[in-house]
């Protein structure tokens, strides 16, 4: 496994001049696991998309270093496994075909044995040749884990990892996480208590915003304490 280092410096994202979040700073390397929490609309998904390189930050820098070499943005996807409700598989193809196309588009050799192993792990092996269209939402979610793990990425990003999963599916996800934890970087976007118990660090976007706001207020109130009549205007 390659050694990876992911760094976020003062990352800010705006949509139509609305600041979603600001001054996000953290560093992650192999063996680190982190969860990003916050209420709906706090920007969890936006932040993980920025980390994955599919969205660019308004300000700030994301750097991904692999084996000491800084990666270009267009190479990020090679090191990232991403599971999220907004990432869909191709309905008209079977699970097996989906994985085959994914491997080919990535430009890697399709390892049928490893694909079978993955499909077996997520309990889709018996349905591997059925079109994804016929799958339940839980099965589709499980297939996304095969999509994320197929290229053996160093960074695993799971946005709402439990979505649509039953108890058994959730257990599989946790075992995948525990297994990869020692060597990989794991990033979760979730509010689920049980998910949070599987990571070492938690970043709460709402608390961060509150903190930044109160710091700002303190600074501005410090300024307004200076004798000045201009303020009233």
């Amino acid at each position: 496994m390659n050694s990876v280092h992911l760094q976020l410096e003062n990352v800010r994202k705006e949509f139509s001049r609305r600041i979603i979040f600001d001054k996000i700073n953290f560093e992650l390397t192999n063996g680190n696991s982190i969860a990003i929490t916050g209420i709906n609309g706090s920007g969890k998904s936006t932040l993980v998309k920025i980390i994955a390189g599919i969205l660019s930050p308004t300000r700030g820098i994301v750097t991904l270093t692999v084996n000491g070499k800084e990666m270009k943005l267009e190479q990020y996807h090679n090191y990232i496994g991403f599971v999220a409700p907004y990432i869909q598989m191709y309905d008209e193809f079977s699970a097996y075909e989906n994985l085959k196309f994914f491997a080919r588009i990535r430009g890697m050799h399709f390892d049928a044995g490893y694909a079978d192993q993955l499909l077996d792990r997520i309990v889709l092996y018996s349905r591997r040749n059925d079109a994804v269209r016929t799958y339940s939402s839980g099965m589709k979610q499980r297939l996304k884990y095969a999509f994320a793990l197929l290229h053996k990425p160093e960074i695993l990003i799971f946005d709402e990892p439990r979505a649509n999963l039953d108890r058994h599916g959730i257990a599989t996800v946790y075992s995948i996480m525990e297994e990869n934890k020692p060597e990989s970087v794991i990033i979760l976007a979730t509010n689920d208590e049980e998910d949070l118990s599987h990571v070492e660090t938690i970043i709460n976007l709402d608390e961060l915003k509150e903190q930044q706001k109160s710091e700002k207020q303190m600074r501005s109130s410090a300024r307004s304490k200076q004798p000045s009549t201009e303020v009233a205007k």
Partner: protein, 237 residues
């Protein structure tokens, strides 16, 4: 362009251009400085050059400015460039319509029909379509950043394809427009030469209209900046 001086200066300048352009007599062979030569085939209708050509010129300049600011947006990711780009395009559309209408009116009296698919008419029509498409695209995208980058991309694509028209049109249609290369037979035969006085008035008009455009552009950009600032204030609570 700050201060009252510029506004007054521009007002006076354009007034002089309009009065001079409209009122100086046109004679077959100009003797004094205050006379225009008669251009055969155009006669008094030649006066439109002082108003029609500057509007067409600005329609093109605005397109160029819009595209350049679009490139700047893609490079720097700052919405202010999008404000500039769309402001230029907005004014460009207005001047493009003005150029088309003044041109069509002139064509009615000179060529007998409002529209003849002359290469210049086709070109200004295509430019108008591009402006129209640009704003249709803009109104169909909700997120400011996405709107900015997509409309910038579109104006760049339009900018690189339009020059092909210059190559293909002369092969397909005869030019009627004064000053066009294939100006033979079909239209009035025009020796499109202005004398010094006419040329000075023409340049003065071009300059005046360009300044007017820049002033309007400046105002639009300032308004756009205020809107951006207002939006950001509102979202910070």
């Amino acid at each position: 362009m700050k201060g009252k001086f510029w506004k007054i200066f521009l007002g006076v300048w354009l007034s002089i251009v309009i009065i001079v352009g409209m009122s100086l007599p046109m004679v077959p062979s100009p003797q004094s400085f205050f006379e225009f030569p008669i251009i055969p085939g155009l006669d008094e209708k030649a006066r439109i050059i002082f108003f029609h050509v500057p509007t067409a010129w600005i329609a093109v300049i605005a397109f160029l400015m819009s595209m350049i600011n679009g490139i700047q947006y893609l490079r720097k990711n700052d919405l202010i460039y999008d404000v500039r780009s769309s402001s230029a395009a907005g004014l460009g559309l207005v001047f493009c319509i003005l150029a088309t209408i003044t041109g069509a009116i002139w064509a009615k009296f000179n060529w007998g029909a409002y529209w003849n698919w002359d290469p210049r008419q086709t070109s200004i029509f295509v430019l108008m379509l591009i402006y129209g498409a640009y704003f249709a695209l803009r109104s169909a995208i909700d997120i400011d950043e996405k709107r900015a980058s997509l409309s910038a991309a579109y104006s760049i694509i339009a900018f690189v394809t339009v020059p092909f028209l210059v190559f293909i049109m002369p092969r397909m249609m005869t030019g009627l427009h004064p000053g066009s290369a294939s100006d033979d037979g079909a239209g009035p035969v025009v020796d499109f030469s202005m004398d010094t006085t006419m040329y000075i008035v023409f340049i003065a008009s071009l300059l005046g209209f360009t300044l007017l455009y820049l002033w309007m552009y400046e105002l639009k950009v300032r308004l756009g900046k205020i809107e951006l600032y207002y939006e950001s204030l509102r979202s910070h609570d």
